[in-house]
């Protein structure tokens, strides 16, 4: 009866090489019609929410704007507000960086979105210490890396003080006696990062405040998520890694007086469907080659090698020169995961050798993210369901590789399979995103300090 239910979110394909732009079916990344198509498909599939990533400076590679991936995207708040007009239940979430925003303005924008969408707003709170992006902002970007979670915690605390400052019943609208709203207190915030004072300009919103998402994977990030987040995006999509992460994070919840149900863990996942397993595998291979074109393969290699490799043949062997350890910042505006590039290069050479002499492009296809789920609709539904039942996650945030139709086939074929398995809703049962996620409406502005760990 009460089988654990799968939660799904839909990530609008973004500015990286996962998104395939060279396919004839690839549409505009900017036109609103693409967002409408994608959002309506997600809503037809009864997804919890749609999600938009953010990047506030165009990425650069070797000192020039990186031109091999999709470039360009619209403003997150404005797209989400407009999507509220063409959907009725779908949650609307986005990344908004705390480094380049002030709490009062952010709180007002999110509260406005929550009101205008009838309680469907979500915020993936990200803090960067990125001076490169900071060049686009009056405040600049300098934040010591160790201050990141301090700023995140403080902006969240400040935003909650504002969001919850109006009592739920503050608006009385007594026209006869002439009382519109009472008990709107002055919020006074004094902190290391922000100090401000005044009444908040927006009444308590339908969800109390937006659903809060966290995506840091470090120990500090996990602790922050356990203390404050309603949902966590992770990168662990295998069963074993997923289970370890899931347990680790959920075990931290009791420290903050929270239970497993208060936090939804959604690993990012890509997928390729086919009529048969072999068909899906073939399509997956084709998409991988689209995602890693010859020039992209060289660019990836340059990120590790830290030097210009444009003279190398992507279909030829790996360079015989070693990485330049000084050239590690060859790519700017994207998250890098490789630290010891000499070790990575050694490992890649061994891998290329072991696989019978992989070319540069084949190696990059091999070593960069492969699709999480590949198979028939039935198989993919089973894999998703099994991961959720095994507590490897509570569901997934799916990242299709095509705009705008990348979710169509999934919704048409996998969702019914999940429903047949009794693992997925057959209708929305509530109206707000908190309803979809099974979360209570918050009443307290208290933000537990993630550093106050009970040992």
């Amino acid at each position: 009866m009460s089988k654990k239910q799968v939660h799904l979110a839909a990530h609008f394909p973004g500015v990286n090489n996962t998104t395939v732009w060279s396919d004839p079916q690839s549409g505009s990344q900017t036109d609103f019609s693409s967002f409408v198509h994608f959002a309506r498909t997600a809503e037809r599939g009864l997804f919890d929410f749609l999600f938009l990533a953010e990047g506030l400076r165009l990425r650069e590679h070797r000192g020039q704007i990186h031109d091999l991936d999709v470039v360009g995207r619209p403003d997150t708040f404005t797209v989400l507000g407009a999507l509220a007009a063409v959907t009725t239940h779908l949650g609307l979430g986005g990344t908004i960086n705390t480094t380049f925003n002030e709490p009062y303005e952010l709180a007002r924008q999110f509260a406005s979105l929550d009101h205008l969408s009838g309680g469907r707003a979500a915020w993936n709170l990200v803090t960067s210490s990125d001076a490169f992006t900071g060049e686009n902002f009056r405040r600049g970007g300098f934040l010591r890396p160790e201050e990141r979670y301090e700023r995140a915690g403080e902006i969240l605390a400040a935003a909650k003080e504002l969001w919850l400052s109006w009592a739920d019943d503050a608006i009385v609208d007594d026209r006869g006696r002439g009382v519109f709203a009472r008990d709107v207190p002055v919020v006074e915030h004094r902190g290391e990062q922000f100090s401000f004072r005044g009444r908040f300009g927006v009444p308590r919103s339908p969800q109390g405040h937006p659903v809060l998402i966290q995506s840091g994977d470090s120990d500090q990030g996990r602790e922050f998520g356990a203390a404050t987040a309603d949902a966590i995006f992770s990168r662990h999509s295998t069963i074993e890694a997923g289970q370890a992460f899931y347990r680790d994070v959920k075990d931290r919840l009791p420290r903050y007086g929270r239970t497993d149900r208060d936090l939804t863990i959604l690993p990012a996942a890509t997928f390729i469907l086919g009529d048969t397993e072999a068909d899906a595998a073939e399509r997956a291979e084709h998409v991988r080659r689209q995602q890693v074109g010859p020039q992209t393969a060289i660019a990836f290699l340059e990120q590790v090698w830290g030097r210009d490799l444009s003279a190398y043949d992507p279909d030829g062997p790996l360079p015989d020169v070693d990485p330049d350890p000084e050239g590690v910042s060859i790519t700017r505006g994207r998250v890098r995961h490789e630290k010891d590039t000499l070790a990575v290069a050694k490992q890649w050479r061994e891998l290329a050798e072991a696989k019978g002499g992989l070319s540069i492009r084949e190696l990059i296809i091999e070593t960069t993210a492969r699709q999480s789920f590949v198979g028939t609709a039935k198989q993919v539904a089973a894999q998703i369901d099994e991961a959720v039942q095994a507590d490897a996650s509570d569901g997934f945030i799916l990242i299709p590789h095509l705009v705008p139709g990348g979710l169509d086939e999934f919704v048409e074929t996998v969702i019914p399979e999940l429903q047949d398995r009794g693992a997925y809703r057959t209708a929305y049962t509530g109206t707000t995103l908190r309803d979809h996620l099974g979360l209570a409406r918050p009443t307290s502005a208290h933000v537990p300090s993630p550093t106050a760990r009970a040992s």
Partner: protein, 387 residues
């Protein structure tokens, strides 16, 4: 001279909305939205009414000004860009001009927000930049104190320049999707703006491609000299206030002179006169309505020409003011909503249309710029104009 320039153009008519109307007592009327001012449906209804009257645009006013301590005032408001975005996909035709303030915000964020409003409205976006004047607003941010108008408008001028340059930082054909070379964009058609000013520096380019109108309509108030100087340089539409038709004609001449001084053709900048309105079927009822509002919330002194009367009286006033060269059009500011807007769309507009002064419908697919006779601007960064 100015008369000829006026008659060559259609009369423009916009409406500005905020809360339950301009009058602080308006929320107590039976028609008032109550808590509906915080719901999408109310704003969609206003936009639909404005579109029914095929008005030029709906100005959604906004400020960071926090609610006061008085429980008898309508308190709170939603972010105007968010309201415009929520309305745009479901209400065709009407231009949408939210106010977005520039003195406590990031021009980079503003630029992409307004450009994106242009995408989601298919070219019907505008923007009214405004400054935050009060210490109460400054205290909400805690970064700096309030400043004199001359400082505020210097900052506004920089912010507007950054926003516009970011709008142009992508050439229209920057996206090439060239499979042979693996390139999604031609990076030579993206431009660093490298703005460095008194108040901030911004590198660019924008993260958002050039929008349908390229430059959403910029609407600025031209009432104070510091603002007028900015409007003369950047505005597509200048809003003025004046207590009379004669005063408005003078104000319009000053705007046109300032535009000319800034090296621009005054005929490309429409001057719209604010007119406060409270309409009813007969003039006595309208006056009683005003007395009731004043009784509830105290008298609201007119800040500009005000018409308390019938739709026919307002139509006469607008037609006469237009004929007298007082303005290229008007921004009606209803004292009470939503009826004040409906009376314009359903009562005043048909009378103006009958006289051949106002459009009888929207042109299919027209942009807001197009409605003001403005072409999509060429990109100054094209032709290798930038470094």
């Amino acid at each position: 001279m100015s008369d000829r320039s006026i008659r060559q153009r259609p009369l423009h008519l916009a409406v500005e909305v905020s809360g339950a109307g301009l009058h602080p007592g308006a929320w107590r009327r039976p028609e008032a939205p109550g808590a509906g001012v915080f719901e999408a449906g109310y704003h969609i209804g206003l936009a639909e009414t404005a579109a029914r009257g095929h008005l030029d645009f709906l100005a959604v006013s906004d400020s960071f000004g926090p609610p006061g301590a008085d429980p008898s005032a309508l308190r709170g408001s939603l972010d105007a860009v968010a309201v415009a975005a929520r309305v745009a996909p479901v209400v065709p035709g009407i231009g949408l001009v939210p106010t977005a303030t520039v003195t406590h915000t990031e021009p980079f964020h503003l630029s992409k927000a307004i450009a994106t409003l242009d995408f989601v409205s298919s070219g019907r976006a505008g923007w009214e930049p405004a400054v935050s004047r009060t210490q109460a607003e400054a205290d909400l941010f805690g970064r700096k104190n309030s400043a004199a108008p001359t400082v505020l408008w210097r900052e506004a001028a920089e912010a507007i320049e950054v926003v516009v340059r970011l709008w142009d930082s992508w050439e229209d054909d920057a996206e090439i999707r060239d499979v042979a070379t693996g390139r999604f964009i031609d990076r030579d058609k993206l431009h660093y703006i490298d703005f460095s000013g008194e108040f901030f520096s911004v590198k660019g380019p924008s993260i958002t491609p050039r929008s349908p109108q390229a430059h959403p309509l910029i609407v600025l108030r031209g009432d104070e000299p510091e603002a007028l100087a900015v409007g003369a340089r950047w505005a597509d539409v200048v809003r003025i206030v004046a207590p009379s038709v004669a005063a408005a004609a003078g104000a319009r001449r000053r705007v046109r002179a300032a535009v000319a001084d800034a090296g621009r053709d005054p005929d490309v900048v429409a001057v719209l006169l604010d007119v406060e309105v409270l309409l009813s079927d007969n003039a006595d009822a309208a006056r009683r309505d005003l007395a009731e509002l004043d009784g509830w919330a105290g008298e609201l002194p007119p800040s500009t020409l005000r018409v308390i009367g019938t739709p026919a009286e307002l139509a006469d006033t607008l037609a006469d003011a237009y004929a007298a060269g007082a303005a290229d059009g008007f921004t009606a500011v209803p004292l009470a909503l939503p009826g004040g807007l409906a009376a314009i769309a359903d009562g005043v507009v048909p009378l103006l249309t009958e006289r051949g002064l106002f459009r009888a419908g929207y042109d299919e697919g027209a942009t807001l710029r197009g409605r003001f006779g403005l072409a999509r601007p060429a990109n100054p960064y094209a032709q290798g104009a930038s470094a």
